[in-house]
């Protein structure tokens, strides 16, 4: 190493030693402050985003739940109707004015009983449906309805239902099967 190089190396060492060893303290403090502020802001943003996502999830869950409920109800109703339709005897195959076939009436009523039991599980059925004289399969194609009403023994007997087991003054809880026109075609007594 020649003299000039040595001199240059010495100058480098001196310049290096004279150079600041670190940035001024204010820079460090400002950066620390900036770090704190940045992370406070980030945490706040993250909390907001989390709350937003949770809210959106809840809304979606609520919408899905309400949709599934309404679709469940819609599904139940057509099932009831189709069951009723399936269970009903085909009136075209019967001759008009024919006496109702007891077995056919029984099967129709049995299917209605099934549906009715599902719909009202709390009711205690005392007797099976008894077909009334007004039942005519030729006219009642579909749209059977079951109505629960309180009837007196006299009213039951007027309809043609057996009511001898109850006192005349007592009102009996009765399921009445109505056809599309609202004519009662079968009854049964129900106790609670």
């Amino acid at each position: 190493m020649n003299q000039s190089e040595e001199r240059l190396a010495q100058a480098f060492q001196a310049l290096s030693a004279e150079s600041p060893q670190s940035a001024p303290a204010e820079v460090g403090l400002a950066l620390q402050d900036a770090f704190r502020r940045h992370h406070v802001r980030r945490r706040r943003q993250r909390r907001l985003i989390t709350a937003g996502v949770l809210g959106a999830c809840l809304v979606v869950a609520a919408v899905l739940l309400s949709k599934s409920r309404s679709s469940g109800l819609q599904e139940k109703q057509p099932t009831l109707a189709t069951r009723q339709e399936q269970s009903l005897p085909n009136p075209e195959t019967r001759s008009l004015g024919a006496v109702p076939n007891n077995t056919q009436v029984k099967s129709t009523i049995a299917s209605l009983q099934k549906v009715h039991r599902k719909a009202r599980p709390s009711a205690n059925v005392v007797s099976n449906f008894t077909s009334l004289a007004s039942y005519d399969p030729a006219f009642s194609k579909d749209g059977f309805k079951i109505v629960r009403v309180g009837l007196s023994s006299a009213e039951l007997s007027q309809m043609g239902a057996p009511s001898y087991v109850y006192p005349a003054s007592r009102r009996v809880l009765t399921d009445v099967v109505l056809d599309r026109d609202g004519i009662p075609i079968a009854v049964r007594t129900v106790g609670r």
Partner: protein, 213 residues
């Protein structure tokens, strides 16, 4: 109070034990202020010195240091350890920022190029080389340092950064090559040329003899 003491102690512990930069960056991303302080303590000096030597402006060096670490605060995951060390990454940011700033503001120290040998500011010329012994006696150590600093600043950027990294920051040529993303051979040749240029500049100021390297 006790919390501060505890956090101060853990901070010191963190700084002393060499927790790797990647783990520290993970902690920084999660908002650990102590981890940030450790990284800052490790790298603020070299980054600040580099920016200062490159720009020749203390205020600009402070701003650049601040910007480098602000980037680390905002995007700690941007650093890819497969591409090099964290120090190199921070130096790289500082280098780009300094170059951009210097280009924008044109804050150049009076430039003494080899072609401008007749510059009046440094008109010692050949006479200074002949009388270098006398000139050196006249110059104080401070003047020598200042002359070297201005000479370094007047070097073209690619030579200046090599001199700053290898001669002032005592970085190995391999380290500088990794940082500047060029081959060690390129660094060696740039070093050689930069030193030769510096010697000429210093000789013109009568500080060294202009002997061939």
């Amino acid at each position: 109070m006790s919390f501060e003491l505890r956090s101060e102690r853990s901070h010191r512990l963190m700084a002393e034990t060499s927790i790797d930069d990647q783990s520290l960056l993970g902690l920084i991303a999660r908002g650990d202020e102590r981890a940030f302080r450790v990284v800052y303590d490790r790298y603020n000096g070299p980054v600040h010195r580099f920016a200062w030597h490159m720009s020749g402006d203390r205020a600009m060096a402070e701003e650049i240091t601040q910007e480098v670490f602000m980037l680390l605060i905002r995007k700690p995951r941007k650093y890819d350890p497969s591409k090099g060390s964290l120090g190199g990454y921070l130096f790289g940011i500082a280098r780009n920022l300094t170059r951009r700033r210097v280009d924008q503001l044109r804050v150049y120290v009076p430039f003494v190029d080899d072609a401008n040998a007749s510059d009046e500011n440094y008109s010692l010329g050949d006479r200074a080389i002949d009388d270098s012994a006398n000139a050196l006696e006249k110059l104080t150590q401070r003047e020598l340092i200042e002359a070297l600093r201005t000479s370094v600043l007047s070097l073209p950027a690619q030579y200046r950064e090599v001199i700053i990294l290898c001669d002032l920051e005592q970085m190995s040529q391999a380290g500088a090559a990794e940082l500047l993303q060029c081959s060690p051979g390129t660094i060696a040749s740039r070093m050689h040329r930069a030193r030769a240029m510096l010697k000429i500049k210093m000789a013109r100021k009568g500080l060294v003899n202009n002997e061939p390297i």
